[in-house]
Assembly symmetry: C2
Homo-oligomer: 209 residues x 2
DNA sequence: ATTATCTATAGATCTATAGATAATGC
DNA sequence: ATTATCTATAGATCTATAGATAATGC
């Protein structure tokens, strides 16, 4: 990932590296203190770059927030795609997605904190995963696998479980098996009976690749 | 509520009124702009009071945030208590609680926004309603009304649904019947079968008194 | 010669306090 | 006489930019 710089010149590659350092540093500082409380100076210091360098890359704090969120969501979305690639059963796909998203709190707690502390990250999160969810849930419905009365309310419920579950994991109030429990809840609300939901939610999960 | 001042002197009552004006103003400004972006000057201006008055009542922004949250939660908790006072069936109590909490987005959108924008409001929310929830859910379990495997995960799931449902209502992406749908989801996860959950979640709700 | 980074700083906030003013208590 | 509020401001940030320095490209 770090070596995949597209710039042709050495200077261009260095600039690209510094940009990525700034994005990572901004994510880390904002994860610790919240987006508003993070200062440009703290971000450049964390990135070990001069203060003014920030403005060679971003016009404002808002601009770098967008990039932190976009790059993190792209990474999570990509790994989720690889993880569910060969799967046929929509229920299995959904359970995998819920567990994978909750696992972000373990794999990348800095990004997880950032998402919880970024204002309207929830909105962008919804937008980022809506197409995928609509496709999978739509298929499950067509095949008679899911029984859903109000897809909008259900999407809100599942997103809420994932976000609040992530928060609980980060602050340490969650049970160790929370990923599986929440995945099972989601399946039950999709119309899968409890016994099967329980089993599907506990099936072994492939490593992230 | 405004006439219930406890101070003995007129000056004391005026001070009390101004304190309440500051709390209300802080809630409103923070609901609009977020907690960090709200300035003391904007709060005192919204309250139509001199800038320095703020420091006669609160030592810092953090202090007034605590009071905004505490006073709002007390109000919501009180109305919820009155609403569920005579109820026997734990399932009915739970459905009422979920719907009542979601109704805050309609009744008091300013406070609802404040909760969503206040850092770790979720933690204080949990703490504020945990006793009540444990009591009601515990009874439902004992009576065989509820079937629950992991109460912690379930509490996180239901809180997440309520918070994300509130956000969706505020930004206008929710369906009109979301309160009833989420209440039914909560009941189903508590072990109530779908038909009864659906019916309980739609039962008429007493006015707030 | 060009391009990026770094240092220094002007200008714009914002907080917290000090001292003056106004209102209430006795 | 006491107590609360109000006005004015010092001091502490923080942002955004200008100009100097360092590194790369040719």
């Amino acid at each position: 990932m770090a070596g995949a710089s597209k710039a042709a010149t050495r200077g261009g590659r260095r600039k690209q590296r510094n940009r990525e350092r700034l994005v990572a540093a901004a994510g880390a500082v904002m994860a610790r203190k919240g987006v508003d409380a993070a200062t440009i100076a703290e971000i450049t210091e964390e990135a070990d770059l001069g203060f003014g360098t920030f403005y060679n890359h971003f016009a404002s704090k808002e601009a770098i927030v967008d990039e932190v969120l976009a790059s993190g969501l792209e990474s999570v979305g990509g790994s989720l795609d690889r993880l569910t690639e060969g799967m046929e059963d929509p229920a299995r796909i959904l359970a995998t997605a819920v567990r994978h998203l909750l696992a972000v709190a373990d794999r990348d707690p800095v990004f997880a904190w950032f998402v919880l502390r970024a204002p309207n990250a929830s909105a962008q999160l919804t937008q980022h995963f809506l197409h995928r969810a609509e496709r999978d849930v739509g298929r499950g419905r067509k095949e008679g696998r899911f029984v859903i009365h109000d897809p909008t309310s259900l999407a809100i419920a599942i997103l809420g479980m994932i976000l609040e579950g992530t928060r609980a994991k980060l602050v340490g109030t969650a049970t160790s098996s929370i990923d599986e429990h929440l995945a099972a809840y989601a399946l039950r609300l999709l119309g899968i009976d409890e016994a099967e939901a329980h089993e599907l939610a506990r099936a072994p999960l492939a490593p992230i690749g």
